[in-house]
Structures are given as C-alpha cells and as structure tokens.
C-alpha cells in the first residue's frame, strides 16, 4: 500500500479531481476591479520563503549561518502560511461585479491552464532530469574556482587590497536600489490613490 501514501499518488489524485470536478467560471469583457491582494501576499510569501531557503541551505554570511539553520525552516513555513492564508483572504474579498458562472466554462478554463502547466513542467522537468543524468549538473562549490584558473588574465583590480573604510561603498548601490524602489512604489501609490471615483481604467 506504499503507493497509497506516496506523494506522486496524491499529486495525481489532486490533478484528476481538478479536471473532473472543475469549479464554476465565467468570462467578461470588462476589466479592472479585481483585487491584487494575492499578488501582495505572493510577494511577501516569496521573500519569507526565499530567506528561509537561504538559511536552510547555509547560503548566508558565516556569522549569521547558525541563525539561518535555526530560523530557516520557520521562515519557510511562515511564507507558506502567508500564501495559503492570503489565498483564503483574497478569495473572500468581493469583486466589483459578481458574474454567474457555469461548469462547462470552468472545465474549459481548467483544462487550458492544466494543459499549459503540464507541458511546461514536463519540458523543464525533462531538461533537468537529462542534465542530472548526464553528470554535468554539479552543485559542488569546487567548480566556481575554474574561472579563476582558465588562463584569461584578470584585471589588475583583482590584486587590489581593500583599504580601511572602503567596504562602506557597498551601501551606495543598496541606497540607490532603496531610493529607486521607494520612488517607484510611491509614484504608483500616489497615482492609484488619486484616482477619482468612476475613473476609466
């Protein structure tokens, strides 16, 4: 009965249920009005999940590594919670216009999306599998030194020792990224919040 407990069986069952028992769906020529909550929840979830993944894999600066190992799985779990909980919340937020749906359209839309994702996952899964099987997929760190010994002479800056205080230059790109990110976000928020009721979008 091992097959009954395997992840593959669970995935296959879920897929079949999705295809055979689609929800109702409807189409409309109107656009706008739908909530972007899921996009925001998704972004937060990704950030938490990615930070957690880095921690679990030990891909953080040495002095933070123990924190990464300790908190990584919790960050990953938090990311998943935000994603699932956010999904429930977003689903309960009403849309501008409730439209009656039918199963036939729901089945068609489900088949379209499942078909597309199936082709997609199959292609990249096959590519990844072939890469692993051929032995070229090396996740070991030794390969990163190969570019330094390939005979192509490095720039003279490769031998330049950092002088005291120069490490602070790292904050220049950080500040630039932060300022630009705030600038773009603020601009968009101001534009959205200044919209008059009944604005044509």
């Amino acid at each position: 009965m091992k097959w009954a407990r395997s992840r593959g069986t669970a995935l296959l069952t879920a897929l079949l249920a999705l295809l055979l028992l689609p929800g109702r769906a409807a189409a409309s020529h109107l656009s706008g009005g739908e909530s972007d909550l899921m996009g925001i929840y998704g972004g937060i979830s990704l950030v938490l999940g990615f930070a957690g993944l880095l921690g679990i894999l030990g891909l953080v600066p040495a002095r933070w590594r123990w924190r990464g190992y300790r908190w990584g799985r919790w960050l990953l779990a938090a990311g998943l919670l935000v994603l699932i909980g956010g999904g429930f919340h977003a689903a309960t937020v009403g849309t501008v216009e409730q439209r009656a749906g039918d199963e036939a359209f729901g089945r068609l839309a489900t088949q379209q999306i499942v078909g597309t994702l199936a082709v997609f996952f199959t292609f990249w899964g096959a590519v990844y599998y072939l890469a692993r099987k051929s032995g070229v997929l090396n996740m070991g760190e030794s390969v990163k030194y190969s570019v330094l010994r390939n005979g192509d002479p490095p720039e003279w800056t490769a031998y330049r020792v950092e002088r005291p205080g120069e490490h602070r230059l790292m904050w220049v790109p950080v500040a630039a990224m932060g300022i630009l990110a705030v600038f773009f976000t603020a601009g968009v928020l101001i534009a959205i919040l200044r919209l008059q009721p009944g604005a044509r979008l």
Binding site: G39, E141, S146, V147, D152, M170, P173, V188, L195, Q196
Partner: protein, 468 residues
C-alpha cells in the same frame, strides 16, 4: 582564405561592428525622441519626410536589440564560451562569416523598415524573409558555440556556461514560435496573435538577453575582483529558477485586456516569482564583492557592472509590481513602460556589455584601453543621461496614466500636451547617452589603432601600482 581564422578575430569583429550599430540605433532613437517634441520637424523636407515616427521607432528598437545588443552578445559568446570550456572557438572562420552575414542582415533591417515594410508585431517588425535570415544567423552562431561545448576540455560547467547554454537552447524556440513558426501567411490573427507576440516579446528578454547578460556578470565579477563567486549552488538555483519561471510571464503585457483571465493570472503569478532568480544574482553579487569594494573607485568595468546590478534589481522590482492588475491599469501603454524597457535593455544589459568590452577587447587585440579618462566620461555621462531619461519617462508615464483615467475623451489632448516637458527631458537624457557612446566608440577606435601593448603581466604590474 576570405575569412580570418585568427583566434579571437570573430569575437573582436562582432564587438567592433556591434558598437557601430549601437551608434546608429541610438541615433534613430534620439531622432524619434526629438520627433515627439517637434512632430513636424522633417515635414516637406525631401527624403527625410518619410522618416516618420512610425518608421523611425522600429528602426531604433531593431537595431539596438539585434544590431547592438545581440551583436555584442555573439561577441561575448565567442569570447567567454571557449574560456569556460578550456578550448578554442570551434571555427573562427565560420564566426567571421557570421559577422559579415549579420552586418548585411542589419543593413537590410534598417533599409526595409525605413521603407515602411513593417510586419506590425512588437520587436518582430521585420519582414518574413528577414526573419528567416535571422534564424540562419542565430543558427550559425549557436552551432559554432555548441561545437565548442562539445569539444570542451573543462568537464565541469561553470555557471556562465549554464546561462549561455540555456540561452542557446531556448532562444530559437522562442523566436520561431513567437514569429508564428516563420510562416509567411501569419495564420494566427487578432487577440491570439497578441498572445503569441508577447510570448515572444517578453521571453526573448528572459531567454536571450537575460541569460547572456547575467552569465557575463558571473564571468566578469571574479575576473575584476579576484574573488570566486560567493556560491555556485545559489547560482544554480538562480539559473534553474530563471529557466523555469520566465516562460509564462509574457501575458503580463496583456493584463486587463481581452485575453483569458487565467492566462493573465498565471503571468502575474510567475512575474512575481521572478523576484527569486534576481535575488540569487544579487546575493551572489554582494557576496563576491566582499572585501573588494575599493576596486570600484578605480575600475570603470566594475562601475558599469555594479550599476547594471542596481538597474537589474530595479527592473525586476518594477516588473512584478507593474504586472499587478491595479498597477497595470494605470501605467499600461504609458511612458512608464518605455522607461522600464530601457532599464532592462540599456541600464542593465548594455552596461554589462560596456564592462565586457572594456575587459575583453584589450585581451583580444593585445592593447590597453587608450584613455582611462574617456572611460570615466563614458560611464558618468551614460549614468547621468540615463537616470534623467528613465526618471522623466517614469514620472511622465504616471502623469499620462492619471490623465487618461480622469476622462479619456476630454483629456487625451491635454495628456499629450502634458507630456511635453517629460519628452524634452527624455530627449536631453538620450542625447547625453548618445554623446557618451560617441566617446566610447572613439576610445575603442584609438585603442585599436594606437593603444599600448597589453599582456597578462600588466595585471601583475598593476598590482604594483595599486600598492599590493
């Protein structure tokens, strides 16, 4: 024999001709920007009156994307792939033949588009015959590179090799499918064609321009800093995530449009997921730069690389944000999108290519870059000009979107008039960028004709100068 077999000649020749196409393509871009300020500039002037915005703009986009950036990318492939494979390029002769083929093709692009022969599809305006020849051009390059991989002595694949291979495998698929399987009759029409067009239009960025650009950064950073990349494992996560996540994002160009809702949602979700591959690159970038930040003060290639990383982050911060339906409803079709496109193609990938050329060309032609001062001017003029350019487009785009949302029919002309100061700022920024590239081309020319001899020992000598 007609085509040279000298090692490095194909890469060098592609770099030389790519920068010429850059100057030509950017000149058309500046001309288009000026036409937005003075629409009747060339009215009733013989010959020039045919240089309308509708013809000039696609000449600009095609020459900078296929003439400049793709040409520089071919040069980068011919330079970096042999070095990560530990062997020579499979055929310099074939590479040099491809240089000639590419230059003739780009000339044909420019002439046909100026004559008004336009297929009407974004980034795929060229006629059917030229599209077939473009596929031939890509095939010539990719065959040469694949044979180099097949003959490699270095068995382990460094991350640059992965990115370059990924681009070679996926770009032809994107190009052929996105151009309606290169059929002359364009069987897919209407909204369906819009879906196919943007599958191509966005994924050519994600599967051709991004992998080569990021792969080049992974090669350049260790060479410029002396540090190995911080984590190979993280770089692999980033590569596979990019390959995996980028494909379904094309429909975010059609958000709020008459395309299936699920397609839009998939595109938005995967666009948000693109945060991850970008952060892997940035994490690796910061980790690799550890202990080497001082070098940025004295190295123009490193300045360009660091700046490109900033713009790469910003492009991929904007991208997920603007794919959201509420944001897209404001900024879609506005100048914001033009600014975003230039952040990617110019701010990120062109800056990476400037760094690559400054690094690779001395090693290809055995001459030091002629003028360090001109390199500095090139960098600062490009940065200041480009910042003015994309900031004015971003603010202008938000003003446009707000004007349109207020009341389209009454305010449309007002929205056009309101753009004037932003168009002027954008043209001014564009002029600065073009001026910077003129200095760059002059520096390259003087390097080729009068540069001091370069050798590997000069890196060691440089260490004495640096006081190591």
């Amino acid at each position: 024999m007609m085509f040279s077999n000298v090692e490095g000649s194909a890469s060098r020749n592609f770099f030389y001709t790519a920068v010429i196409w850059m100057a030509i393509g950017m000149s058309f871009g500046l001309f288009a920007a000026v036409l937005l300020i003075f629409p009747d500039l060339v009215k009733n002037i013989p010959v020039l009156e045919y240089f309308t915005f509708g013809r000039v703009r696609p000449v600009h986009t095609n020459l900078v994307l296929f003439g400049w950036l793709s040409g520089a990318y071919f040069a980068t492939l011919f330079y970096m792939v042999p070095r990560v494979c530990g062997t020579k390029l499979w055929s310099e002769r074939l590479g040099n033949f491809t240089v000639v083929f590419y230059n003739l093709l780009m000339t044909a692009y420019g002439v046909t588009l100026l004559l008004g022969m336009n297929a009407g599809r974004e980034y795929a305006e060229s006629t059917w015959v030229l599209k077939l020849l473009t596929v031939v051009m890509f095939a010539l390059v990719f065959f040469n590179v694949l044979m180099t991989f097949a003959n490699r002595k270095e068995k382990e694949l460094y991350v640059t090799a992965w990115y370059m291979l990924g681009a070679i495998v996926t770009a032809p698929v994107i190009y052929v499918i996105g151009n309606q399987f290169l059929l002359p009759t364009n069987p897919i029409t209407g909204v369906n064609d819009a879906v196919v067009n943007w599958f191509y239009g966005h994924n050519i960025l994600g599967y051709w321009f991004t992998p080569i650009g990021v792969g080049a950064v992974y090669y350049l950073l260790p060479k410029l800093t002396g540090n190995p990349i911080w984590s190979h494992k993280l770089s692999m996560i980033g590569f596979w995530m990019l390959m995996f996540v980028y494909g379904p994002t094309g429909a975010h160009h059609l958000v709020n449009g008459p395309v299936p809702y699920w397609l839009q949602t998939v595109a938005i979700a995967f666009s948000v997921c693109l945060i991850i591959p970008v952060w892997t690159v940035l994490t690796n970038f910061y980790g690799t730069m550890n202990g080497r930040w001082g070098a940025v003060k004295e190295s123009v290639p490193l300045k360009f690389t660091v700046t490109a990383m900033v713009f790469y982050f910003i492009t991929c911060f904007q991208g997920p944000m603007q794919s959201l339906r509420s944001v897209s409803s404001i900024i879609h079709f506005t100048n914001w999108v033009v600014g975003h496109a230039h952040l990617a193609v110019l701010g990120t990938f062109s800056f990476i290519m400037f760094a690559t050329i400054y690094y690779a060309l001395p090693r290809l032609i055995n001459r030091e870059i002629w003028s360090a001062k001109l390199m500095d001017w090139h960098y600062w003029l490009s940065l200041i000009g480009f910042t003015l350019f994309f900031v004015s487009l971003t603010i202008g785009g938000l003003v446009q979107g707000s004007d349109w949302a207020a009341n389209q029919s009454a305010n449309f002309i007002a929205s056009v008039i309101n753009q004037r100061p932003f168009n002027i700022a954008r043209a001014f920024g564009g002029a600065m960028i073009l001026g910077a590239q003129v200095l760059f081309i002059y520096n390259i020319f003087k390097t080729a004709t009068a540069g001091r001899v370069f050798s590997g020992e000069s890196a060691e000598a440089g260490s004495i100068v640096a006081g190591v």
